[in-house]
Amino acid sequence: MTIQQESPTTVFGSVAELLYRLVGDADIVGIEITPESTFHEDLGLESIDLVTFAGILTEHFGLDVNLANFLAEKDLDEVIGLRVGDIADFVSDRLAERE
């Protein structure tokens, strides 16, 4: 499936939904995913989960939404502190470039 356009709010909702799918509802009972939620600290995920999530994003949004390319430009501290909102912003930017 390839998405052409989504509002930022919808994009965040889609990213959060895909994250719930990644970690499995049972693992994050009681944790609400917000734009401020950090991938590693708050959601308890590892860098290898980012790789898996990159594949999920590409499958959902299209090949040009390449999280690995985006993160390759970041420093380690930025990757460790990556927020769900950062991922949603990245996706929104990539979708906007299609217009």
Binding site: S47, I48, L50, V51, T52, A54, A68, A72, L76, V79
Partner: protein, 258 residues
């Protein structure tokens, strides 16, 4: 992909097609490491340079199966050989290894010289007796350190909660397997074995890394060895210098991909 059975183990494999000129295989380090350390840093720009990229989680790491035993270098070499066979990679490959992944690259090149076009090793040394002694000491120390609850408090106080979780992860991997016991067993390479690795090799070291006692020894021993040292840098070259390592690797690929 991303899961395939390699040498009998469910193995997490990530492929990035880059045009098929030649193939680079990334080999990550031991303990807390996984294919992510390359996939999220060097793999995208290398693929963009026109080279197919293979990265995978070594046995016992990341999302690859973790057997209780089977962690000699011979096991890791057999995994890589089976992976390349299953992926029908019949041309020699460029191996890029970080720390233990570089040790694996040297062992693979010694065992299968016809399958290796070049090697780039980041803070890595071949599996010599000296290496085995060093690894035994490091792993013994690590096991003892990670058995103490106070160690995790110290790690969090000095490096933050992310590193505390990584330490827990490493402890789980090392203590639930024979990794610490088997990895130093080799099979080990003699200096003569290393001198026979005649493909081009780039040794990337930190001046304060694990080979700081003699930075030039390895590259001088290798017939076609080259050396790049990051001054003032410790063992974490890939993490702390990944942009500079990217430039070195892109230059290397430019020079050695036909």
């Amino acid at each position: 992909m991303p899961t395939m059975t390699v040498n009998g183990l469910q193995t997490n494999v990530q492929l990035i097609p880059g045009g098929g000129k030649e193939t680079v295989v990334f080999l990550h380090g031991m303990g807390t490491d996984s294919l992510a350390s390359f996939y999220l840093t060097l793999a995208p720009p290398i693929a963009a340079a026109g080279v197919d990229v293979i990265s995978y989680d070594l046995r016992g790491h990341g999302k690859t199966e973790r057997p209780a035993r089977g962690y000699t270098l011979g096991d890791f070499v057999a995994d890589l050989h089976d992976l390349l066979s299953q992926l029908d990679v019949d041309q020699p490959v460029h191996l890029v290894g970080n720390s233990f992944g570089g040790t694996l690259a040297y062992s693979y090149a010694a065992a299968h010289p016809e399958r290796v076009r070049s090697i780039v090793c980041i803070e890595a040394e071949p599996a010599t007796e000296l290496w085995a002694d060093k690894m035994t000491q490091i792993l013994d120390h690590t096991v003892r350190f990670l058995q103490e609850e106070e160690s995790y408090n110290w790690i969090e106080a000095n490096f933050g909660s992310h590193h505390r979780r990584l330490a827990r992860l490493a402890a789980d991997r090392i203590m639930s397997t024979s990794m610490a016991e088997e990895v130093p067993l080799g099979p080990l390479l003699s200096l003569e074995d290393i001198a026979k690795i005649d493909c081009p090799v780039l040794c990337i070291l930190g001046s304060h890394g694990f080979q700081s006692d003699d930075l030039e020894a390895l590259s001088n021993l290798l017939p076609r060895g080259e050396l790049h040292v990051f001054d003032g840098q410790g063992h974490s070259v890939l993490v702390e210098q990944h942009r500079n390592v990217r430039h070195l690797l892109l230059d290397w690929i430019g020079r050695h991909v036909k």
